[in-house]
């Protein structure tokens, strides 16, 4: 019997030995389904996935609430009001519409986070591209050019939204996290121009991409954005340089105006002949409220702009944001682009349709990005899965920018020629008599009508100094509301290293 006890003691001893020696290995597990950062970014495929992540930020619309750039800029401009179900629906949108912005009130945090998330991912890729040996040089050069374009694009948004912002072109190390300071817009613009120029000079960046790559950056997108960035700096001495870039796009033979204005925003004309840079959205990725935020691939603006509880022909229902202002309606009433720009709700009601009148209802709604019944996503939450791409840069915009650049450079003839190209498409009489500032104002008016509700108006007003004049009755204060307040949380967390914008 005793022997048996001794025998039983053996496993006990073995156990003690085992636990003390194997303990460490037993507790070291490898995660499954995810990869350690230190093991990633080793192959071309992984670097491409990092590039895609930098693209991903382009279509974010749910950073810290609903913060779609296009819709917010519509609300801020005189194209649209904020709207929604009632005043409390999206107070941040209402605050931008009425310029009751405050450090803690407004869409600034989401826009700020979105921009810098894109910059972080572009910076990371640019760093990682240098660490992998034997990379295909063409892949490396093209990826770097795309990353630089994206970084420039995000900084361009940030500098226009915020003015003085922190600027860096690498992933922040642990000791640099809390110590960044703001630089002037001039310094930011210099960096943007440098990135775009480098991308522009990248031979490997293609002029066109095969159908399955549509949405990736092309030479034309880089050229157009570089011209736009120069134009936005408002320096008349650089207008010729901008005009040259626009010319290059216009004369490339790759783009042409849609013959029919009404066709531009048709879903079958995504990446159409007029498109230079589109932000791609998808209706077939089954987004749901579970991955609301930035996890879906849908265009939330489309849902926002739709008529609330709409039942009737053609259109799908939405949430009645960005009702079109009577000001724009009255201005465009006789413009041929009117029916393709504005939905007349009362006309629909006459046809037997119904919808709930939301906040700031005008009975006029956005047509360009209006969700159509036939395009409603079949899977996932339809509200979050609108597939309509945002026409971020289209040829008519570039032609009008070219017209402006030429005019501001003193070449009225070429300015007029370009202006009339855009007018001719919608069968408007050519402008013949005007010149100088008068011509410039006609070009601005053309931009307002041509690009209405596409999110350009607010920044156009700000950069040309007409914001106070046009938006004053909305509450715009000159010297203050040109930019958003810096998010208060950013000032708090850096214990005041970041300085609030003037007036806030």
């Amino acid at each position: 019997m005793k022997f048996i006890y001794k025998l039983l003691l053996l496993p006990l001893l073995a156990l003690c030995v085992m636990l003390s020696s194997c303990g460490k290995d037993f507790l070291e597990l490898k995660p499954r389904g995810t990869t350690l950062e230190t093991n990633f970014y080793q192959t071309q495929e992984e670097l491409f996935e990092a590039l895609v992540a930098a693209y991903d930020v382009l279509q974010w619309g749910g950073t810290n609430g609903w913060t779609m750039k296009l819709g917010l800029l519509n609300a801020a401009s005189d194209d649209c009001f904020a709207g929604g179900s009632d005043a409390s629906d999206q107070p941040n949108w209402v605050a931008y519409d009425n310029f009751t912005l405050a450090p803690f009130m407004g869409p600034q945090l989401g826009l700020w986070q979105k921009g810098y998330a894109g910059i972080y991912r572009a910076n990371l890729l640019l760093e990682k591209l240098e660490t992998v040996e034997d990379l295909d040089p063409e892949f490396k050069a093209r990826s770097a050019a795309e990353a630089k374009f994206l970084r420039a694009f995000y900084y361009f948004d940030l500098v226009r939204f915020f003015g003085n912002i922190p600027l860096f072109t690498e992933v922040l190390s642990a000791d640099a996290i809390y110590t960044q300071t703001q630089v002037t817009p001039e310094e930011v613009y210099a960096q943007i121009e440098q990135d775009l120029t480098e991308a522009y000079n990248t031979f490997e960046l293609p002029e066109t991409v095969p159908p399955e790559e549509l949405g990736r950056i092309t030479k034309g997108a880089v050229t157009a954005l570089l011209g736009k960035v120069i134009l936005y700096q408002n320096d008349d001495s650089k207008m010729e340089a901008a005009a040259a870039l626009f010319d290059e796009v216009i004369n490339s033979g790759l783009y042409a105006l849609q013959a029919d204005f009404g066709d531009i925003f048709r879903v079958e004309n995504e990446f159409g002949q007029e498109s230079i840079f589109e932000i791609n959205y998808s209706g077939n990725q089954r987004g749901g409220w579970g991955n609301f935020g930035n996890g879906t691939e849908g265009n939330y603006d489309v849902q926002f702009f739709g008529m609330r509880d709409y039942v009737g022909p053609t259109y799908a229902n939405g949430w009645s944001f960005c009702p079109v202002t009577p000001k724009l309606v009255d201005a465009m009433r006789n413009d041929p682009r009117y029916p393709h720009t504005i939905i007349d709700g009362n006309a629909l009601k006459d046809l037997g349709a119904s919808y709930t009148e939301g906040y700031q209802n005008t009975d006029f709604f956005i047509r360009k990005y209006a969700g159509l019944q036939q395009d409603r996503a079949l899977d996932g939450e339809p509200a979050l899965n609108w597939s309509y791409n945002v026409r971020e840069i289209r040829l008519a915009d570039v032609i009008l920018m070219a017209a402006e650049a030429y005019t501001r450079a003193g070449n009225d003839a070429q300015g007029k020629a370009y202006l009339n190209q855009v007018r001719a498409r919608v069968f408007l009489r050519p402008i013949t008599a005007a010149s100088g500032d008068e011509l410039l104002n006609l070009i601005y008016r053309e931009r307002q009508y041509e690009l209405a509700t596409e999110g350009h108006r607010f920044f156009d007003l700000v950069r040309t100094g007409r914001a106070a004049e046009e938006l004053g009755d909305q509450g715009f204060t000159a010297g203050k509301n040109e930019v958003l307040p810096i998010p208060q949380s950013e000032i708090d967390i850096t214990t005041g290293i970041l300085v609030q914008n003037p007036g806030y």
């Binding site: 037993f26 990633f40 991903d56 991912r121 791609n280 950013e490």
Partner: protein
């Protein structure tokens, strides 16, 4: 057997030898006080002599003692021992008193048992027999109101719903659930696999010293569940079952169609709009949506069959259970069914080797509706849907319109379409129609077992090894038919999804223990090692456009286009390697000392903090063991205890200490929106990441006075540190910050438990009550966070709870109102220091909001603390009285010191129905000071701000159970071969005393304390039987 014969022979010789010297014979019958049932197997010993006997099956005994002055000692487990001097009597019959708070009672502690009298920690015990015949769905609910220090808030009244269980307050801003240990096996996925009848006892380890033997998982307290073991020497078969019917106990007063029409007209006109309903009087009562969704006759039934048998060597307990409860909301879509089977056994191979097992299988199937959500729970819809829309649409004019003629509207069995509201939209659908298209259920199959072997090498030195497993399979399936409910809720194609998951947890525990007494020094030592691994995986997928329209016909094998098929999967894993040790020492059961140490190594902890150390110490002094108090008639027992210890919380997620890259940062390229994968780092890493830590001090006493009253009191202070919080980094960093051990909070409180039992002229009384007070305060959220956001309401995401330093966790946050402006002049004179009106947009009838921060305007910074959903007070009692065969049990429970947020109305939907208090709204000067005017668009945002208007007192007291039972008398029982038969009738949730105006004041789960139209607790009546033979 040989042994026993020998014993008998020696005993016989002994008795014969004694009988030579004295010839006094005593006999009698021993019965149970109050019932006159005979007690079988009572030990009768002649004091100071090696002489004794037992009572027989009729309770009779006979003993021959040495002298006429002898003293007889009558003892029986669970009863008070009595000593009787013979004094020449030949017949001594006694009724033994049951010992209500038996000092010999043992309690289960982690890795062992301890005599209650020498326990130095704060441990509450619930006996299985107290839960017998009490209907509860899940075992954790059985703790509700039973012990002090435990707050149980059922998530909702839906069958099978879990509960929020907090021991001594909420111990973390993250996971605060207690650790459940069933027969020595920690259980991760909830303990609803247990059958109530199988429970022997539940011990709640409340203070740090008791819980710290469970180390890194003990911060939320530990609940030890012990299941029944076989009884030696006898075979018993028990059946217990009940059947009952359930119904809602409260309906909300909602506007009927006529009232609705009048108020909506008023609201529209006030905003400058038109009359919406020309003739409200003609609308009549309209549809009662509550009646449409409530089920007033929902069955509940439970059946349990158990068999126990055993011998000296071997014993077992086997049981089968079936439980089936339908919900009071919806007929078919809210139901919970559970089948359980159990086999527990113990075998003694010889004097020194024992082994045994527990093994449980459960199968659960549940269907449920959304229980507390403004986005589509049936009751939220019933509250918000206008009463004008009919349940079924029969109006030919409506049936001919675009919607009814062109869309796949939902119909009842007779093909009549359900009404569709044109007034209230979004998620507020016809609730009955919405329930009809909801098709799906969840299921689980679970096997939990434990096998152990124990060897006693020498007396007192034991080695025990046990292997426990928890093997679980669970999943769900769901089907969406083609339907049209309203413009925003429709499906143009069918969809079917299914998920299946599997998890295996195992634990290998080895302990060496040594127990020995040296004179008055009693010593017990324990050391052990534990290894645990928990891993599992799941897979799920779905297809769409199936050619069927009901879940019963749905199958994943239907050929559908590959690009519309989806699948997903996941894996998880974790390991824990631990060392534990404990020393228990007492001197003559008078001076008590206990110390423990546990070391936990976890795969969850960062590389720089792989092992956590969790020490504890506790001391006690049994004052009544001192000579000066011994044998005093007033205080029978008095023990003072004190303890201190460290507990950990490892619920911090897996692999959070390394930087991982994650997918889903996707983009689509190409005309056909081809998705391409994008990958980026998830967050910045923190290799120093460690467990959360709770340090707790406890001071208490246990007392028994007047022989019948037991009192337990505890005072505690619990400080949680190192709570995990995202370290805030500036947004310009571009990625989420790491998690760090940052925040701290405190819980302080006290607890009282009272017990009383007595038998007076045939009536047996028993009372057990408890009362607890706890105050939670968040003490630090780190340098960069002023608050943590909490719950939100409505599509606008109205912020209604927050967590801030200096206040309790998750308090209600909003504006303070100061009555209602009665006149325009009051609006104009409500000014700030500069004389400017504070609410320039307001009109008479609007709320006057308080400028809390006194900055001269009403802005979001004026939002402040307006209530606390966590009760400070919880209490409960169980009282019973028995007389002859009858017994009556009352069990009540309540909370106080809390508020509830009544967010039942979708204020964002202008035409949503209202509760009856809207009839007392402000309609002119002096008409109301509490309910503002009704006006569409609500320009003053009376309703669309979180404010104290929505906050109500959440205190309640509830008669949880009232049960009347009758046990048939002995003669009849024996005649039909039963040893026990009890019939009972029981009423549950009969009475609820509360000021709260919503459906139910008990609101747990993820929407703690916020009523979004809560699925209420049912009131139910049961008829049951409990029989043993």
């Amino acid at each position: 057997m040989r042994m026993r014969l020998l014993n008998f022979f020696v005993f016989f010789l002994f008795v014969s030898w004694i009988s030579v010297h004295a010839q006094v014979s005593v006999q009698g019958t021993i019965t149970q006080a109050g019932s006159s049932d005979p007690l079988i197997g009572v030990t009768i010993i002649e004091k100071g002599q090696p002489n004794g006997t037992l009572t027989g099956s009729d309770g009779r005994y006979q003993i021959t003692v040495g002298s006429e002055d002898a003293i007889l000692v009558f003892s029986y487990l669970g009863f008070t021992t009595q000593e009787i001097a013979i004094n020449g009597q030949q017949e001594i019959s006694l009724a033994l008193q049951e010992d209500i708070a038996n000092l010999d009672e043992v309690v289960i502690v982690g890795y062992g048992v301890q005599k209650k009298a020498v326990v130095t920690g704060a441990i509450s015990k619930v006996r299985g027999e107290d839960l017998e015949d009490m209907p509860v769905t899940r075992i954790e609910q059985s703790l509700l109101g039973r012990t002090s220090g435990v707050r149980v808030t059922t998530a909702s009244g839906q069958p099978g719903e879990g509960a929020t269980v907090r021991i001594r307050g909420t111990s973390s801003i993250n996971a605060s659930e207690p650790l459940y240990v069933v027969d020595g096996v920690p259980i991760g996925g909830g303990i609803d696999f247990l059958n109530q009848g199988d429970i022997e006892s539940i011990e709640v380890l409340k203070d740090a010293a008791s819980a710290s033997i469970y180390g890194a998982r003990s911060a939320g307290g530990v609940i030890l569940v012990t299941t029944k073991q076989g009884k030696k020497d006898r075979m018993e078969v028990n059946y217990s079952g009940y059947y009952g019917t359930q119904a809602p106990w409260k309906k909300l007063a909602l506007l009927d169609a006529r009232e609705y029409g009048i108020l909506m007209n008023e609201s529209s006109v006030a905003a400058g709009g038109s009359i919406l309903f020309e003739d409200p009087e003609s609308l009549g009562v309209g549809t009662d949506w509550q009646d449409a969704v409530f089920n007033y006759d929902a069955p509940i039934q439970n059946h349990e069959l158990s068999i126990t048998a055993g011998s000296e060597k071997s014993s077992y307990y086997a049981s089968f259970g079936y439980f089936d409860q339908s919900g009071i909301v919806s007929d078919a879509q809210s139901r919970y069914q559970r089948f359980t089977a159990r086999f527990n056994s113990t075998h003694k191979i010889n004097k020194r080797i024992t082994f045994g097992n527990t093994l449980a299988y459960s199968r659960i199937k549940g269907v449920g509706v959304s229980t507390n959500s403004e986005f589509g729970s049936p009751l939220s819809r019933a509250i918000n849907l206008d009463p004008i829309t009919p349940l079924l649409e029969t109006d030919p004019a409506v049936l001919g319109n675009n919607v009814f003629s062109n869309f796949p509207v939902v119909t009842n069995d007779e093909g009549v379409p359900y009404g569709i509201s044109t007034l209230v939209t979004s998620e507020v659908l016809n609730p009955v129609a919405a329930l009809r298209i909801q098709q799906g259920y969840g299921w689980s199959d679970k096997v939990v077992g434990n096998a152990f072997g124990e060897i006693e090498f020498i007396d007192g030195l034991k080695f025990r090894s046990s292997i426990g497993t928890d093997l679980a399979f669970w999943g769900n399936e769901g089907f969406t038919p083609i339907y049209y409910l309203n413009a925003t809720n429709r499906s143009d194609l069918t969809r079917y999804n299914r998920a299946q998951n599997r998890g295996l947890y195992w634990i290998w525990q080895n302990t060496l223990s040594y127990t020995r007494s040296f004179g008055n020094h009693n010593l017990s030592l324990l050391a052990g090692t534990v290894a645990e691994r928990n891993a599992g995986e799941g897979i799920g997928g779905g297809i769409q456009d199936l050619p069927v329209n009901h879940i019963d016909e749905a199958s994943l094998s239907f050929p559908t286009p590959a690009e519309t098929q989806t699948y997903y999967g996941f894996e998880y894993q974790g390991t824990l390697a631990s060392y534990l040790s404990r020393i228990n020492y007492n001197y003559a059961e008078k001076y008590l000392l206990s110390a423990t140490m546990r070391v936990d190594g976890s795969s969850k902890f960062g590389s720089n903090n792989k092992f956590g150390y969790f020490p504890s110490i506790s001391v006690g002094w049994v004052v009544t063991q001192e000579n000066f108090l011994r044998e005093n008639p007033l205080i029978n027992f008095f023990k003072i205890r004190g303890s201190w210890g460290v507990n950990g919380n490892d619920q911090i997620g897996d692999f959070r200490f390394v930087s991982t890259v994650g997918g889903g940062r996707n983009y689509t390229f190409g005309l056909d929106d081809r998705l391409v994968n994008g990958v980026s780092p998830n967050a910045i890493a923190n290799p120093d990441l460690r467990w959360e830590e709770t340090k707790q001090s406890n001071l208490g006493f246990d007392a028994k006075i007047f022989k019948r009253v037991s009192v337990t009191f505890d005072l505690f202070e619990k400080k949680t540190t190192d709570m995990l919080l995202d370290i805030a980094v500036p947004g310009y960093v571009g990625n989420a910050g790491p998690v760090g051990n940052i925040a701290t909070m405190e819980n302080r409180g006290w607890e009282l438990e009272l017990g009383y039992g007595n038998t007076v002229s045939g009536f047996q009384f028993e009372f057990n009550g408890n009362l607890s007070y706890v105050q939670n305060t968040v003490t630090d959220l780190g340098p960069d966070k002023e608050f943590l956001p909490g719950q939100r309401f409505s599509p606008q995401g109205l912020e209604i709870t927050r967590t801030t330093v200096g206040l309790p966790i998750g308090y209600f946050y909003g504006y303070k109102t100061d009555g209602i402006f009665q006149t325009a002049e009051e609006v104009a004179t409500y000014t700030n220091a500069d004389g400017n009106p504070l609410q320039p947009e307001a009109q008479a009838g609007d709320f006057r909001f308080v400028d809390v921060n006194e900055n001269g305007e009403i802005d979001p910074e004026d939002r402040t603390f307006i209530g606390d959903p966590t009760p400070n007070w919880t209490y409960g009692f169980n009282a019973s009285v028995g007389w002859k065969g009858f017994d009556l049990v009352v069990f009540g429970q309540g909370v106080a010191g809390n508020e509830l947020f009544k967010a039942t109305r979708r204020f964002d939907l202008q035409m949503a129905n209202m509760t009856g208090d809207a009839l007392d709204r402000w309609t002119g000067e002096g008409t109301s000071t509490t309910y503002p005017r009704l006006v569409m668009n609500d320009p003053n945002r009376n309703f669309s701000r979180s404010s104290d208007f929505y906050v109500e007192n959440g205190a309640f007291f509830r008669i949880k159970t009232l049960q009347l039972g009758y046990s048939i008398p002995k003669g009849l029982k024996q005649a039909i071969g039963f040893s026990k038969i009890r019939f009972y009738i029981s009423g549950n949730n009969l009475l609820t005393f509360t000021e709260y105006s919503g459906f139910d004041p008990e609101i747990g789960g993820g929407s703690y304390g916020v009523d979004r139209g809560i699925y209420p607790q049912a009131r139910f009546y049961l008829l049951g039987i409990n029989a043993t033979f």
